[in-house]
Subunit: 229 residues, 2 copies
DNA sequence: CGGGCGTTTACAGCTTGTTTACAGCAAGCC
DNA sequence: GGCTTGCTGTAAACAAGCTGTAAACGCCCG
């Protein structure tokens, strides 16, 4: 297992809980970095680049949810929340902000370790899993954000890439114009499906063998589109 | 031998032992920095970047083992422990924390020097064997913090080096502007990606064969960058 | 006070999103 | 059939924003 190299950043202001969690985690041979407030937490996160973030929501200097949201802007590492509050609203807020798990105080050693293991496993799978999607002579590497066709890299604009991702995410399903517009342009321009046709055309030009007779990017007239592997 | 340039940080609270060790080491033409407590020791370690750390476990303000562990988090330099305690548990704790050797008081001059020489030798070997990352005609030695291009050392500023490290750490993956800004400038200036472009340009000037047509430092327009070996 | 370094400013060139225009194409209606 | 109408696909053009680079500025430190 790669757990031996797990590097965890713990952001917790209460010293006794910090010691408790730290010793529990270090007993598993994991590396633990500490921060006692949100500001230092973010600095440590930037310099340490941890594999897992454990953060107490009740920090003295900043809102834990805001911290998570900031962290999520630039890191994919899993986030485990510790909190004295068990309100569902708090949990929702934290999870929506990007947290992956939420542990209510008081908690036991066994549960903490089990949750950390679960998170690290999930993260490891993400890294290990061959992120290569392929159809026809095209392969898509989501981590590298790279699209190849017959081995040659194809340059997709951000919009084109977003659209392709939306199609791949729900491959095989019928997607209405509104759904796709929503996915690419966000709430708003969900009406003018003209953009969508232009970008679908460009995707076909770049990825279909014969753009005039698409095999993977199927038109559902009057409805929308469907992607087919 | 490069021992002539050995720079040693001594963290010891007892003045007479400090004087004794210092004079012993300086007789070998080595440079000795001093700290009389753990806090100042860590500060000195960070600013002096010593080649070797000698630390007394019985410091007044902090646990010597914790100090070693902290030091180990960001430095590979060898650590020699001085201690009045000879319990096996203490040694194991210190060595597991990252210490390389454990010397029990009282100790003789000869043994101290021999152990220091052994440690510096081992460290030198480690440095020689330090893993080289290389791409194109460039090689990066993270342990030595040295970048060479066609065998000639390239001088990188701290910012440039940080950026290069961030790129190397997640080589092959797409890194957004935010991710890179966070890694180099920390939380805060994660918005203005202009700095980033300037430094990416400087890295390309220094490391790419043809900066106008970068092969390793790939631009992902509207997204960020990706480093490629 | 001089040099190195991070930051700011300025600008040219290119990429991209959006707009505009126009050509099939199928279905329906006279 | 001929025509209209609505939907669809493609091409070209343009403005705005993004990107890369050079140069100047200010600041710290020896």
């Amino acid at each position: 297992m790669s757990q031996a190299e797990l590097r965890i950043l713990l952001i917790e202001d209460e010293p006794h809980i910090r010691r408790f969690v730290r010793s529990t985690l270090e007993a598993q041979q994991w590396t633990v970095y500490e921060a006692d407030c949100g500001q230092r937490g973010l600095v440590e996160a930037g310099s340490r680049q941890p594999d897992l973030l454990i953060v107490d929501l009740g920090l003295p200097d900043m809102d834990g949810v805001a911290l998570i949201r900031d962290f999520r802007h630039w890191s994919q590492a899993p986030v485990l929340v510790l909190s004295a509050r068990s309100d569902e609203a708090d949990k929702i807020a934290a999870l929506d902000a990007g947290a992956d798990d939420y542990l209510t105080k008081p908690f036991g050693v066994g549960e903490l370790l089990a949750r950390v293991r679960a998170l690290s496993r999930r993260h490891a799978r993400q890294l290990e899993a061959s992120p290569l999607l392929s159809f026809g002579e095209v392969s898509v590497d989501l981590a590298r954000r790279e699209v190849r066709r017959g081995g040659v890299e194809v340059a997709l604009t951000p919009m084109e890439y977003k659209l392709l991702c939306a199609l791949l995410r729900d491959a095989g399903k019928a997607l209405t114009h509104r759904m796709l517009m929503q996915a690419v342009w966000g709430p708003g321009h969900t009406d003018d499906s003209h953009y969508l046709r232009i970008y679908m055309s460009r995707l076909r030009q770049k990825l279909e063998q014969d753009p005039a007779q698409p095999v993977h990017f199927i038109t559902l007239s009057g409805v929308g589109y469907r992607f087919q592997f």
